[in-house]
């Protein structure tokens, strides 16, 4: 068996053992959504079998390089694409390889992303059986017209059917993805979506305001100065949708724990929290990102090249670089501040053996004066203010 060398420093301060997270990228979709710029789509479908083979091989190869202690996994995330388009046998196979090669903790959070149209009772039963305990559904909107504009292939009614199946199968930890600021969306229709969704009491809601990304159909249609058929809501409406999200979710007992994530107490997504807190993770599959032993790297994002590299027994990871102390501090700040809890002075000191004040004191003070950051005396922590959340990039760049 071939092996990959995972370079990196085994720095002493990193020795404080934290468990590992795994991300598995499933790039397949039944259709490409018009706003989506991820590495995904129906075009990869023909390579599905070879891809899964390769993915399993990659998981095995990587695991070989890890010490026993490093292999303790407490979160797994199947993302995409649409992992639920895989046959249940296929997802089972991947899960088996992971369990064989890593030590997956009993209480591990294992999430899978799905689309309302690809849910079947049979698949759900298999998910349950192999340990998947959290589902994330890309609903985006409860308005069928808006769904059509997005290029989604499901309807609200179809979603409801899937939702009932999920509930019937006993999944309790479920996220619903929503989007605001959609072409043709009105404040009223968005409110309608929120109402309908909240009636279902999902324990977790992610709400994104649409960003027109480069290279998407949406860019062609709604890019700067363009408007095809529908219009993007005005800035004013977009902001009102955002305010509405905050208010309605708060009233229903949801807590906003990250810029775009809301949950009922105890239902925060542990896997995503790991990204914000500097936890180690390994990503498998096309274009997947990893952070391991203080090093960031990312797999080849061209399907053909990815498969060829793996076939030749080469490492599919590119752009490896070890974060300097300075970069680690930067990340600690701009990732940590995404969480509403913010960053704790004590944690910073533990990690870097230098006080937060000494490194960023001046910046923090300026940002506090601008009402972008606030200091929590009790916790000894810094976090974004409401205004700071709205313009968080302006805050983050200050730490670069």
């Amino acid at each position: 068996m071939q092996s990959f060398v995972i370079e990196g420093n085994y720095g002493k301060e990193d020795c404080k053992m934290k468990n590992l997270s795994l991300y598995v990228h499933i790039p397949f979709c039944t259709a490409k959504c018009h706003y989506c710029d991820f590495l995904s789509g129906p075009k990869y479908m023909q390579e599905k079998e070879e891809y899964i083979e390769t993915l399993c091989k990659e998981i095995g190869n990587r695991a070989q390089e890890l010490s026993r202690e490093e292999k303790i996994v407490d979160t797994i995330f199947f993302g995409g694409g649409t992992p639920s388009v895989l046959e249940s046998e296929e997802i089972k196979r991947i899960m088996e390889v992971i369990k064989e090669r890593f030590h997956v903790l009993q209480e591990a959070e294992i999430s899978l992303e799905m689309n309302p149209d690809s849910v079947t009772k049979e698949k759900l039963k298999v998910y349950k059986k192999i340990g998947i305990n959290r589902l994330s559904i890309g609903l985006q909107s409860a308005n069928n017209e808006e769904l059509k504009v997005l290029g989604r292939i499901h309807t609200w009614e179809g979603f409801l059917k899937s939702w009932n199946l999920i509930k019937d199968e006993g999944f309790t930890n479920v996220n619903i993805d929503l989007m605001s600021g959609l072409p043709g969306q009105s404040l009223k229709s968005y409110e309608e979506t929120l109402k309908k969704v909240l009636e279902l009491d999902p324990p977790h809601i992610s709400s994104y305001s649409l960003i027109v990304e480069e290279g998407t159909k949406f860019e062609q249609w709604y890019g700067e100065g363009k408007a095809q058929g529908h219009r993007l809501p005005s800035e004013e409406t977009d902001r009102r949708m955002y305010e509405l999200t905050k208010k309605m979710l708060k009233d229903k007992g949801y807590e906003r724990y990250e810029i775009s994530n809301y949950s009922l107490p105890g239902y925060e997504c542990k896997h995503n929290e790991g990204y914000w807190t500097g936890k180690s993770y390994l990503g498998f599959g096309l274009g997947a990102s990893s952070y391991f032993r203080g090093q960031r790297f990312q797999n080849e994002n061209d399907m053909e090249k990815y498969l060829t590299l793996m076939e030749k027994g080469k490492d599919p990871a590119l752009d490896r670089y070890t974060l300097s102390q300075k970069e680690q501090r930067e990340e600690f700040m701009f990732l940590g501040l995404r969480r509403m809890k913010g960053v704790r002075e004590e944690e910073f000191y533990e990690r870097f053996q230098i006080s937060l004040k000494e490194v960023y004191g001046e910046k923090l003070q300026i940002l506090e004066e601008k009402a972008l950051l606030k200091y929590n005396n009790k916790e000894g922590s810094w976090s974004l203010t409401e205004f700071g959340i709205d313009v968080s990039n302006q805050v983050f760049v200050e730490f670069l």
Partner: protein
């Protein structure tokens, strides 16, 4: 040296009519240069010049031609700069010649610059003969152009060589015409030295290399010389000729020849173009006529984008000035831009050339303020100030009146665009002097225009309104009293000194309004609302608002791709670096040039 075998001449043409290409062909055909040695254009040796197709500094070359009569002739081809900004330099180069070749494009015919340059040559009593170039073009109309030359300029054109400089067609005819039609120089080598400086160049080994035409007398190594206007004196170290791209030392330069002198002179300021060199111990009676002190016409502030680069900018300007006596600069401080220089130029093209050379050759990132002209401010106490920086304008209560420079302009235009161009001149406060039809379809419009109305985008406006069928030439006429005001720009209630400009009272409101609109586009949204105001003497005349930023979030962070996220943030940070902090507002560098783009759309 036998004066009858010397021909000192230049080539005059409108830009792009093929002056430099013809010069190359002449050099090639006179055989002193192999094809291999030829750079694309031998005479234009600065990269920038080649890119723009403009000759900035005159280059001169001496070649030997064996004519059909069996004799060898020495050709001194003096190249002249081809732009109105360098009018004075052109006039001095012409004064060093005995004749000129007029190159006219067979398709385009006579243009404004053609006329201006020919008249300048005729003013210097040069014998001018025409050459019709680009006859290989399908649109060439040599017959029409010949007639035009005879009608408009009044010189014989029907025996003009019909050539294609590009393809080397009929170049022999040009060479023979040079021998026949250009008079040989006069002057007595036994008279006291009298030499005309028509250019100079700074060389770090030799010091200033002075380009001159010996009118009377002679000069050689050891001759004590004196520059009659600047008063500088020195002992000659070396004299010589201009080879193609190199200096060839010789024994002596005598009356009628063109060559160079070095004398360990440290600064081109001592060897002003147009000055007369004489023998310090045996001086000539009087200097040659026509010397003028070169004055900068256009001023702007130049600041390093990175404040720490101020010494680099100073060094770069110092070096450029060694070779360019027309470039002036003095340190100034702007509240908005920090430490920089107020720089003076012959014109807008000169400004652009210097700016590009600073950025390219010296790798400097510059913030340039809007260019302005020199205003004369007459104060109540009788004092007169020459104002080059709008922020130095005295309090209006101290001002009696102000004057601005006026030019006389000739615009040659196809008749169907006359209305459009007259409209443009009207908007620019032009005073119509007259119009003449050169032929049925073309006319010359003559206007008086304030210089400050043409230094911005007049060329562009002219081009677009005439669909490219207009050409333009001007010369400074003098100063006239004018109703001028200073327009101040306030950003977030703070006056930004670098954005102030002087404008005619009647266009102040309109300019102020458009300036605010333009700045609104240029200034990114901040965390707070930013009022942008235009004011005259504290009275706000226009206002726009940059709305506060309400959203700047990257919501998605998928699959732990932190690197991508960081790259986006880094890009954002890079953008911030290219801003200038004024008060608590960050202003992009290009906003300081906004005033230049007020007439867009």
């Amino acid at each position: 040296m036998d004066q009858s075998k010397i021909r000192n001449f230049c080539i005059v043409a409108h830009i792009d009519h093929g002056k430099s290409t013809l010069a190359d062909r002449i050099i090639e055909h006179t055989g002193l240069l192999t094809s291999r040695e030829m750079q694309a254009q031998v005479l234009d040796n600065m990269d920038l010049e080649r890119e723009r197709g403009i000759t900035i500094k005159a280059q001169t070359v001496r070649t030997v031609y064996k004519a059909k009569d069996g004799e060898e002739y020495i050709f001194n081809l003096i190249d002249t700069p081809g732009h109105v900004d360098f009018n004075y330099e052109v006039s001095r180069a012409l004064a060093a010649c005995d004749g000129a070749i007029l190159v006219v494009d067979a398709a385009q015919g006579i243009e404004a610059q053609t006329l201006a340059n020919v008249y300048l040559a005729l003013d210097h009593d040069l014998d001018v003969f025409p050459v019709i170039n680009k006859i290989d073009l399908p649109s060439a109309e040599p017959e029409r152009v010949m007639e035009e030359i005879e009608d408009v300029i009044g010189i014989e054109a029907h025996d003009a060589p019909l050539i294609s400089a590009k393809n080397g067609l009929n170049i022999e005819q040009v060479l023979e015409a040079i021998v026949e039609k250009i008079p040989s120089p006069k002057g007595d080598k036994n008279n006291p030295l009298q030499a005309l400086i028509f250019d100079s160049l700074y060389d770090s080994y030799k010091g200033v290399i002075v380009f001159c035409r010996i009118m009377e007398g002679s000069v050689k190594k050891g001759t004590p010389i004196k520059m009659m206007a600047t008063g500088a004196t020195a002992d000659v170290v070396e004299v010589g000729y201009f080879g193609a791209g190199q200096f060839i030392p010789c024994e002596e330069l005598t009356a009628g020849t063109v060559g160079y002198i070095t004398a360990s002179i440290k600064n081109v300021k001592d060897t002003a173009v147009g000055d007369t060199i004489t023998n310090a111990q045996n001086p000539c009676k009087e200097p040659l006529p026509g010397y003028k002190k070169v004055n900068s016409m256009v001023y702007c502030g130049m600041y390093p984008a990175d404040g720490a680069k101020y010494p680099d900018l100073r060094d770069a300007l110092e070096k450029l000035q060694l070779n360019d006596a027309a470039l002036q600069y003095e340190p100034e401080t702007s509240i908005a831009l920090g430490f920089g220089f107020r720089c003076g130029f012959l014109g807008l093209l000169h400004l652009e050339i210097i700016q590009e050379r600073l950025e390219r050759e010296y790798n400097l990132d510059l913030v340039t303020t809007a260019p302005g002209v020199i205003y004369r401010v007459y104060k109540n106490n009788g004092e007169m100030i020459e104002l080059t920086n709008p922020s130095n304008l005295p309090d209006p209560t101290e001002i009696d009146y102000m004057e601005e420079p006026i030019v006389t302009a000739e615009i040659m235009v196809r008749s169907d665009f006359i209305g459009a161009i007259m409209g443009l001149c009207q908007e620019r406060r032009g005073r119509h002097l007259g119009m003449e039809y050169m032929e049925e379809t073309r006319a010359v419009l003559r206007y008086e225009l304030p210089l400050n109305e043409i230094i911005y985008d007049f060329f562009d406006a002219l081009k677009s309104r005439s669909k490219g069928y207009a050409s333009f030439d001007y010369e400074i006429k003098g100063y006239e009293q004018s109703e001028l005001v200073k327009l101040d720009i306030l950003i977030n209630k703070e006056e930004v000194d670098a954005l102030s400009f002087i404008v005619h009272k009647e266009s102040a409101y309109e300019r102020g309004r458009r300036m605010c609109e333009k700045l609104k586009e240029e200034i990114p949204r901040h965390l707070f609302e930013i009022p942008i105001q235009a004011a005259i003497g504290g009275k706000v005349i226009a206002r726009e608002t940059v709305k506060a930023m309400r959203k700047d979030v990257l919501a998605k962070c998928y699959g732990g791709d932190i690197t991508r996220k960081k790259k986006l943030l880094e890009k954002q940070k890079e953008g911030k670096k290219r801003m200038r902090q004024v008060g608590n507002v960050e202003i992009p560098q290009k906003a300081f040039m906004s005033v230049l783009k007020l007439d867009e759309n």
